[in-house]
Every structure is written in C-alpha cells, then in structure tokens.
C-alpha cells in the first residue's frame, strides 16, 4: 500500500503544481477538479470517508461545475481579464523561496510532531453513548460541537446574500439558438436521475447517524440534483424570491437556534438536548440543515435571488 499511497501523494503534488502553473485557465480548473477527486481518494485511505464524500461532492463536484461555468464567462469576456502585469522575477523568486521554506517546514513538522493521543477526539469516541448517534463525526458536528456547525450555516447564508447583492446570475438555460437542437437525451437524464439523486441525498442525511454521510454530504447531493435540473432547463434562477424559498433557506439555522434557545432554560446550557429526545431532535435538525444547505448551494450556483420552475 505504501507504493500506492506514494503514487497518490505524488499525483496530488503534481496536479497542484500543474494547477498553479499551467498557462491555460481552463486546464487549471480541470486540474483542480481532478485534484479534488484525488484528494477524496487519498482521504478514504486516511480513514476519512465522510470527508472524501464531502470533498468529492462539494469540493470537486459542485465547486467544479461552478468554476467551469464561471470560466465560460471569463472566456467570453475576452483575453484581457488578467490582473495587471505578471509578477516580476524578484517576486517569483521570493515566492518560490518562501514556499519551499514553508513546505519544508511543514514537512519537517508533520514528520517530527509528537502527537498527543490523549485528546478531545478520544473523549468524543468514548462519549458516543451519550451523543445519541453512532457516527462519531455526526456526533461532533451536531452535538459536542454543534455550535460550530450552527455558526458555519451563517457563513453559507452570508455568502448567499453576498452573491445575491452582486446580481451576477449564472443561470444555465440553453441559449435561444440552442433550443431547436436540444438533445433528446437530456430530458431522459434529468427525469431518470433527479429522483434517484434526491433519494440518495435523503439517504445520506439519514445515514449520517450511523455511517458515513450527514447533512452536509446529503445537502450537497441535493444541491447536485438541483444543479442538474437547472442545467437540464427544468429549473431556472429568478430575480424574485418567494417567502417559502427564503423560509427553507433559513430553516436549518432557525430550527437549530430555536431548539437550542428553547431548551437552554430547561437544560441549563445552550444546545443541550434533554435525555431521550436526543435522537429525534438531531434527526430533525439534520434534515432541516440538509434542506437549507442544499438550497443555499444551489442558489450560490445560480447566483440568483430565487428559483423558478420550467421556464417557458
């Protein structure tokens, strides 16, 4: 396995180097996506299947689509979209020296670090019995360190508001001249796959309690279904936003916060779940999170305020 790991590590490093140095932007983006997949692979090797799922779904998949779509805008704008003059050789040399030093330092540190094995994670594994779920990462995310997760949802919401403020939509409806030539297979793809993908997303959320998966991965898959609908022309961005959509967008963070706040006077601490209710509460939270995450990611993709079904 050492050989395989070494090869994978080498590929990762080479892809990273190529992504940064290759001249063509498109190639850089594609390399980045491949890099994401390779990382996902390496993370399964490192006992982190949850993260591999997340990286493949969000980091490479969703972000990849977004990058490619943005690349189209960049390409259409013409060649002069680069930022000023290229850095001087001095800057390049300094950056090279700096990055080599940084990399060496990190490599040395990672090889010599004396890892403390008496740590919070070990405690988390021991306390799984009180956490209400079997899957340790889910327990950490939704129980032991649920506050982080809650705040992180805020980050998603903020990024969305920022994108909306920019009014730079990226709605992928087939362009007018393309409508006549639309592939007959595309509707098939959308019709067959969307329910399956939705099912899989839901499964991932539900499975999060005992096996790899969870709200984030499930949400990402849900968003993927949405992206597919958008690309297939079944769903489009809209400048108007319905109250329902907004309510769904904030569902996760609101449910999370309200449960936490309501139980605070009873349990004496914010986000402390009463015994017996831990599992149902966590499932409720997880599903509302997944829904909000999926919709937020989808809207980040369309870059619009709202969504509209099957545009005329």
């Amino acid at each position: 396995m050492m050989v395989f790991d070494s090869l994978l590590a080498l590929i990762i490093a080479a892809l990273a180097w190529r992504c940064v140095t290759v001249r063509d932007l498109f190639q850089a983006i594609v390399t980045f996506i491949v890099l994401g997949l390779m990382l996902a692979l390496s993370w399964t090797r490192l006992d982190a299947p949850d993260l591999a799922l997340a990286e493949a779904g969000i980091g490479a998949g969703l972000l990849g689509v977004l990058l490619l779509s943005t690349w189209r805008v960049v390409r259409d704008a013409g060649p002069d979209q680069g930022e000023g003059p290229p850095p001087s050789p001095w800057v390049r040399t300094a950056a090279a020296v700096g990055s080599i030093a940084l990399g060496t330092a990190f490599a040395v540190v990672l090889h010599t670090v004396e890892v403390d094995s008496d740590r919070a994670g070990g405690l988390a594994l021991e306390s799984l019995g009180e956490a209400g779920v079997e899957q340790p990462v889910t327990a950490v995310l939704l129980n032991f360190r649920s506050y982080d997760t809650l705040l992180e949802l805020g980050v998603l919401l903020m990024a969305l508001i920022g994108a909306v403020l920019l009014r730079s939509p990226l709605i992928h409806r087939p362009a007018a001249e393309d409508t006549g030539t639309e592939s007959p297979l595309l509707p098939v793809l959308v019709t067959v796959f969307t329910p399956l993908v939705l099912l899989m997303g839901t499964f991932l959320v539900w499975a999060g309690a005992h096996s790899p998966g969870g709200a984030f991965q499930g949400g990402a898959v849900l968003a993927g279904a949405g992206v597919m609908l958008v690309l297939g022309g079944r769903l489009g961005g809209d400048a108007q936003v319905s109250l329902l959509l907004r309510a769904l967008l904030i569902l996760g963070v609101s449910v999370f916060t309200v449960i936490g706040l309501l139980l605070m006077p009873l349990e004496g601490a914010f986000m402390a779940y009463p015994e017996g209710l831990v599992y149902p509460l966590m499932v409720t939270i997880e599903f509302s999170l997944a829904l909000s995450i999926g919709l937020t990611l989808l809207l980040l993709f369309t870059g619009t305020n709202g969504l509209r079904g099957a545009p005329a």
Partner: protein, 481 residues
C-alpha cells in the same frame, strides 16, 4: 440567568439577521432597530454582570472541556463587547438614516449587519480555538458582502481582494489550529498553553501559523493592501464597522492568543519583530494617509497606521502596555467610527470626497466637521481623549521596560497623525477661492450628524473614563496582580 447572556448576545443579532433575511424589505427599519436595541441592552447587561461578578463561563451543550465549546467572558472580552455594542448601537442609529428606507439592498444591508454584529460578539465570547476560526470566517464573510452595499460596480474589486486575503489568512490560521490540536489534543484556550510550550517545532509552527493568520486578517503591514480600497469604498456605516470593529476583532484575537495559549511559547525575537512591524505600520500608514487625495482613503490608511500601536504591546509585554494596547483599541474604535461616519456625511452632502474640493465644509456640515475634529484629537493622541490615555500608557510602558525607542515611535506617530488630520481640517476650514463644492446633495439627516458627533464626543469622554474600563479589563493575564 447571567450565564445565558453570552449566548443571547450572540444569537439575538444572529437570529435577528436571519429573520431580517426572511422578512425582507418590509421589516426595515422597525425589525433591525428592535434587534439592535435588544442586542445592545443584552450585551451591556453582560458587561455589567462581568463588572459586578467577574468572569462568566458557559459550556455549550453542557459538555465539559475539552469535549464541548466554552463561551467565556473575561475582562478583555467584556471590554471588547462594550466597544462592539456601543459602537454597533450607534452605527445602527446612523444606518437608520442612511439605510432606513425599505428596498432590497437595504434589507440585505440590515441582515448582513446584524449577522456581522452577532459574529463579532461570537468572536469575543468564544473560548475555543476552532470556534474562533468559524467566528473569524463569519466576520469576514458578512463584512465583505457589506462592502458591496455601496454598489457592486465601485466595490467589487476591493471586495474580491478583501476576500482573497481573508480566506487565505483564515486558512493559515486553521493550519495553526490543526497543529495545535495535534500537539495539545484540545482546542480549549485554557488547556493548550502547556502542551504547546512542550510541543517542540510543531508547537512553534502552530503558534506562527495562528499569529500570521490573524495578522493577515487584521490587515497589518505588509498584509494591509486590501484594506484601504475596501474600507474606503464601502458605505459609511460599513466602513465605520470595518475599521472600528472588524480589524479590531483580529487584534483582540492576537492579544488573547499571545497572552494566554501562546504565553509559554512566544519568543522575544518574535515580540520585537511584531513591534517593528507595528512601527512600520504606523510610519507607512500615516505617510500614506497624508498623501491620499480622498477623504475616506485618508481615514482608511489611518486605520493601517493605528493598528500598529496595538502591536507595540508585544515587545513591552508589561501590564501598562497591556492596558495601553487595549485602551488604544477601544479609543481607536470609537474615534475611527466617528471619522468614517463624518466622512460619510460629507460624501452624502457633496457627492464625492475629493479632498481638494472640500473647501469651507464647516459651515454647512458643522456637526460632522466637529465630530471629525474631536475624533481626530483622539487619533492624534492628544489630551483630553481616549487616544491620549492609550499613548500615555504605552509611553510609560516603553520607559518602564527601558525600550525607549518605542517612545520615539509613539511620539513621531502622533506627529504624523496630526499631519493628516489637520490636513483634512485645513481644507474644511479653508475659505480661499479655488475649486469649491459644485454638486450639493441633501444635508445629512440630523440623526446621522448627531450619531457621528456623539461618537466624536465619546472619544473625548474616553479620556476620563479610564478607571472603570481598565478596572473591568483587569491585569495582564498570567502576570502577578
């Protein structure tokens, strides 16, 4: 009840912002004002109970450290909360004038501003290294979209640059968090000092990453290049918050990390280096501020310079320097908010802020010019003002530690600040013929003028309220009382 206050101080504005997003323009301005009021009251109650009863701790989820995340409010956090919520409340009042009408953009402004407010409170009460990372990201990602409220066309480049640095800085910080966890096995700020100190190279690397990451986010020279454009082009209320509170929150984090978890691992060379960087920031920022042709850029570069003073704490590291640095943070926060709000009034009235064309402004905008002048006194570090007290403390610390060269930096920095502040005032008082104001916009609503003035007056009043604030702050952590 008091142990719930930190949670409420975070979640009243956060939930308020989220619900503002839900309700949209119809809720403006009543709902944001209700939330602003509630937040301020709650945070002041929190500060009050810390003053009376000492530190407050709340273990989230009821999990004990190191499993759960602690919220802690000690003296330092309480002082920062005080600053944050007083300035935040006043900025809300100002924004009632500037963004009080309904409309999609205003609705988004309020949602983001309330989220930012809550994020800052979350940062100040957090006692967990990784939670601080999330809070930092919350702060950045609500601050950057806020810059866009001024209209994307003007601000998009600045916002993009800001995003690059914010994201990079937080990832550097996150690397530090990871390494810290590797050697310490915990993320609780109170539990990691010892293991870090014994962590060898990894401990040092962790400390370096944490510090550099925060420095990038705090826009310390040479990581400042994103700041002037972002702070200079944002809407006035946002500029005020960014300069007064957002970068300050990073400086707060630097102080906290240095004096608590990293106390055992910091080396004198690093401390001196931080001091030198601070001195460079003071010099560079002030000179740049003096050379700017736009009012808001003058104020923005002034922030670059003023942040340097807080860095002078590190090489001196005595109780006096501690008090001086924190007090400088408070005084600068109040004064800088006043400067930006006053500049915003100028911009509203004149339609631009090109300095050379801002002649004779003291007649139509007497209140704003006066606010600018009062805040300027504090920025220059002249008495009687909060800035002066801070400078006095830092000067005393420089002599106490025998590092007289920092005293020179402080004195020269005061001169440079005077140069750029008086340059602005000179134009404002100038009656001579020359390019004058052509487009005259609406006179700023009284609310906007008076909030600016109130902040200006506060920055003077801070010259007399040292005892209670430093009493709340308490001594340098780890030092003998």
């Amino acid at each position: 009840m008091t142990e719930f206050l930190p949670v409420l101080a975070v979640f009243i504005p956060l939930l308020g912002g989220v619900l503002q997003f839900l309700m949209g323009p119809r809720a403006v301005p009543v709902w944001p004002m209700v939330v602003s009021g509630a937040t301020t009251v709650c945070a002041l109650a929190l500060v009050g109970s810390v003053t009376n009863q000492g530190d407050i701790q709340h273990m989230l989820g009821g999990w004990e450290a190191p499993l759960g995340i602690p919220l802690r409010v000690d003296g330092l956090a309480a002082v920062m909360l005080l600053l944050n919520n007083v300035v935040g409340g006043l900025v809300s009042l100002y924004a009632l004038g500037a963004h009080g009408r309904s409309g999609a953009v205003n609705s988004h402004f309020w949602a983001l501003w309330l989220l930012l407010w809550g994020s800052l409170n979350a940062l100040f009460v957090s006692g967990d290294l990784f939670n601080l990372y999330v809070a930092l990201e919350l702060v950045s990602l609500s601050a950057i979209p806020l810059v866009l409220v001024a209209g994307p066309r003007k601000t998009v480049a600045a916002a993009l640059n800001y995003l690059h640095f914010a994201l990079f800085g937080s990832l550097v910080y996150l690397a530090g968090v990871g390494l810290t966890y590797a050697v310490a096995g915990s993320l609780d700020l109170t539990l990691i000092a010892g293991p870090l100190a014994e962590g060898g190279p990894a401990g040092h690397m962790a400390a370096a990453c944490l510090i550099v990451g925060v420095l990038i986010k705090a826009a310390i020279v040479p990581f400042h290049i994103w700041l002037p454009a972002a702070h200079g082009n944002a809407p006035a209320a946002v500029s005020a918050v960014l300069s007064a509170l957002v970068v300050k929150s990073c400086m707060y984090l630097l102080l906290r990390l240095w004096t608590e978890p990293l106390a055992g691992i910091t080396v004198d060379a690093a401390a001196q280096l931080l001091g030198i960087i601070g001195a460079a920031a003071i010099g560079y920022g002030s000179v740049q501020a003096f050379r700017q042709e736009r009012l808001k850029l003058v104020v923005a570069y002034s922030t670059v310079a003023q942040l340097g003073y807080m860095l002078l704490f590190f090489p001196m590291a005595v109780a006096t320097a501690w008090e001086g640095a924190v007090y400088h943070g408070v005084a600068h926060g109040v004064a800088k908010a006043a400067l930006f709000l006053a500049a915003g009034n100028v911009l509203l009235y004149v339609g631009h802020d090109r300095l050379r064309e801002l002649r004779g402004l003291d007649r139509p905008l007497a209140l704003s010019v006066f606010a600018f002048a009062l805040a300027g006194v504090s920025i220059m570090g002249l008495p009687p003002s909060g800035g002066f007290i801070a400078k006095w403390l830092l000067l005393s610390a420089a002599l106490e530690t025998g590092q007289w060269w920092w005293a020179l930096v402080l004195i020269v920095g005061g001169f440079l600040a005077a140069a750029y502040i008086f340059r602005v005032l000179r134009y404002a008082f100038l009656n001579a013929p020359g390019p004058t104001i052509e487009i005259e916009g609406p006179v700023p609503p009284r609310l906007m003028s008076w909030t600016a003035l109130l902040l200006g007056v506060l920055s003077i009043v801070l010259g007399f309220t040292t005892a209670p604030i430093l009493g709340l702050l308490g001594g340098l952590p780890g030092a003998a009382p």
